[in-house]
């Protein structure tokens, strides 16, 4: 097991190296010379050259890349061009809303999607199945901001049940924290729910045809128990896989959701950084999200052994 974890960690190195190389090239080929920006309009060519040398911008690509990777290994993401603050600190300040949003969305999505998929599979071909699958197609097709604005309009503006926008920290009370996250999580979770429901249904359909399901039924096990204990356990691997892969959707979606609901998270940071062309911040966020994504999927591989003890590494 430990050997497997180590081997998998080693296997993520080339992947992360590709990501790092790409992200670094992004800064390298970025239009606009940081030295010119820092020097301002009044600078003489000599001053610009001096700044460029002091930033190390005059050295070759490979050396700068290796230096940058060296900094990364020391968890130093550099400073924002715009504010001059360390990117680490900027990310740290924005981490809580995004993590909260993702956590609430994950819990909401998994707890709705898996039962929906199971029910759809057990009633395959009936109107219940068709209704659920129609919703799943809708979930795929309706973009996050559409769901977001619609929900905010109805539940926050018309009925005034939930706050319209903004974020309060979990330290200021659980309910006010949660109430600010309900609508965003729902909007963000739609696509995710649709994806998990579809995969759960497809896998369950396959599992329900197996002999051991018939055996369980034959010995008089109740329908709920057959579905959620006998069948779901055996359908877990594809479902867990798609939950892991779908995290990419959540990350991309968080950028939009945070804009719609004015959550001060990493997504907003990304958007602001793009509008200001603040490349170190863009690099930092992409690196962070990508490594999170890779780690989540590594975690998913390890979860396999828990949900399905037949898998051993």
């Amino acid at each position: 097991m430990l050997a497997y974890v180590l081997r998998r960690l080693m296997a993520t190195i080339p992947v992360m190296a590709t990501v790092a190389l790409f992200v670094f090239s992004l800064l390298y080929v970025a239009p606009g010379d940081p030295a010119l920006v820092i020097a301002g309009d009044q600078a003489t060519p000599a001053q610009i050259a001096h700044i460029r040398a002091s930033l190390g911008l005059d050295r070759p690509f490979l050396i700068r890349f290796l230096e940058w990777v060296w900094q990364l290994v020391h968890l130093d993401l550099g400073n924002s061009i715009f504010t001059g603050l360390p990117v680490n600190r900027l990310i740290g300040e924005r981490l809580e809303p995004t993590l909260s949003l993702m956590a609430v969305t994950l819990i909401f999505a998994i707890s709705t999607a898996v039962p929906l998929g199971v029910v759809a599979a057990s009633k395959a071909g009936t109107w219940i199945d068709r209704t659920i699958m129609m919703f799943a197609v809708f979930g795929f097709s309706v973009p996050i901001f559409v769901v977001g604005y619609l929900l905010a309009h109805v539940f926050a503006l018309e009925f005034d049940w939930l706050p319209v926008q903004g974020y309060t920290s979990i330290t200021k009370g659980l309910w006010s924290w949660l109430s600010h996250l309900i609508l965003p999580s729902f909007s963000l979770g739609c696509v995710y729910v649709a994806l998990i429901t579809r995969v759960t249904r497809a896998t369950m359909l396959e599992v329900l045809q197996q002999d051991y399901v018939r055996t369980a039924r034959a010995k008089g096990v109740g329908q709920t128990r057959v579905l959620f204990v006998h069948a779901l356990k055996n359908a877990a691997v594809p479902v867990v896989t798609v939950i892991g892969i779908g995290v990419a959707l959540l990350i991309g979606g968080a950028v939009v959701t945070e804009s719609v609901f004015a959550l001060p998270g990493l997504g907003r940071l990304t958007v602001d950084a793009i509008l200001r062309r603040d490349y170190p911040v863009i690099q930092g966020v992409i690196l962070l999200f990508s490594s999170a994504y890779v780690l989540v999927n590594l975690g998913v591989d390890l979860v396999y052994t828990i949900v399905d003890p037949r898998i051993r590494y």
Partner: protein
């Protein structure tokens, strides 16, 4: 939707760029079917013209990503040496969430429809390549490919004659899903200000402009949103239909 895109100039009641400062943020009426936006432009006409942007982006991305992915996938699937390197590179690209990658690419370039198409295409290529590679790996073991090799057929001809046609059913289905997600991606990019230049009326841009006013003038956001959702829904259903008819075994399963 295709018809709307083609006939946008005929259907549009006024020039989508025409400013009427006197008629700002009017509610929907007989004169302005979907109302007017913050600069007094007719939302109805702008939404109609937005159809063009979305369809052009969606279809171009689907075509380019399919061609790119097909080339990469076939090479990876047929050459063991290239396979390892190419797929590691693709894994790296896939580790970056698609929207973020597109956003990063857009941050490098000036906003134009061409750049938007490119920025959405690049993240899709690894996904297509992976699919094609899988299909090619399966096909390579087929007896008729062995027969062709034994008969002395040269590799490019085998690829062209025997492998390529068999990837099409998978590719067409995938392309329709890519088309749908590309339209959403375009709207997202424009919405966060990293997409089509603001002067072009795309659905994402109209929503981005309506965002400032959404609490009072909800319709500016809602009309393009409805159009976008319906179009994407239609394309997704098309993809489902294609999949069911091209691969009867899967019908009704997913």
């Amino acid at each position: 939707m295709v018809l709307i895109a083609l006939f946008a100039p005929v259907l549009g009641t006024v020039d989508p760029g025409a400013l009427s400062p006197m008629l700002r943020t009017r509610d929907p009426s007989a004169q302005f079917w979907f109302g007017t936006d913050i600069m007094g432009r007719d939302v109805y006409s702008r939404v109609l013209y937005g159809t063009r942007v979305s369809l052009v982006v969606g279809i171009s991305v689907a075509v380019f990503a399919s061609i790119g992915g097909l080339l990469v996938g076939i090479v990876a699937g047929f050459s063991r040496r290239a396979d390892a390197i190419i797929m590691r590179l693709m894994d790296g690209l896939m580790a970056i969430p698609a929207i973020l990658l597109a956003v990063a690419l857009m941050a490098l370039t000036r906003g134009s429809i061409g750049n938007v198409i490119l920025a959405i295409t690049i993240p899709e290529i690894p996904r297509v390549a992976r699919l094609v590679r899988g299909v090619v790996l399966g096909l390579r073991e087929q007896p008729y490919v062995d027969a062709a090799v034994a008969a002395g057929t040269r590799t490019p001809k085998i690829l062209y004659m025997h492998i390529l046609p068999n990837t099409f059913p998978h590719l067409i289905v995938q392309a329709s899903y890519i088309c749908a997600s590309a339209m959403i991606a375009e709207a997202i990019l424009s919405f966060i200000g990293a997409g089509t230049p603001p002067i072009v009326p795309s659905w994402g841009n109209i929503m981005a402009e309506g965002r400032a006013l959404w609490q009072v003038k909800f319709y500016i956001v809602m009309f393009p949103a409805i159009f976008l959702s319906l179009t994407v829904l239609a394309v997704n259903l098309l993809g489902d239909g294609l999949r069911d008819s091209l691969d009867p075994r899967l019908a009704g399963r997913l």
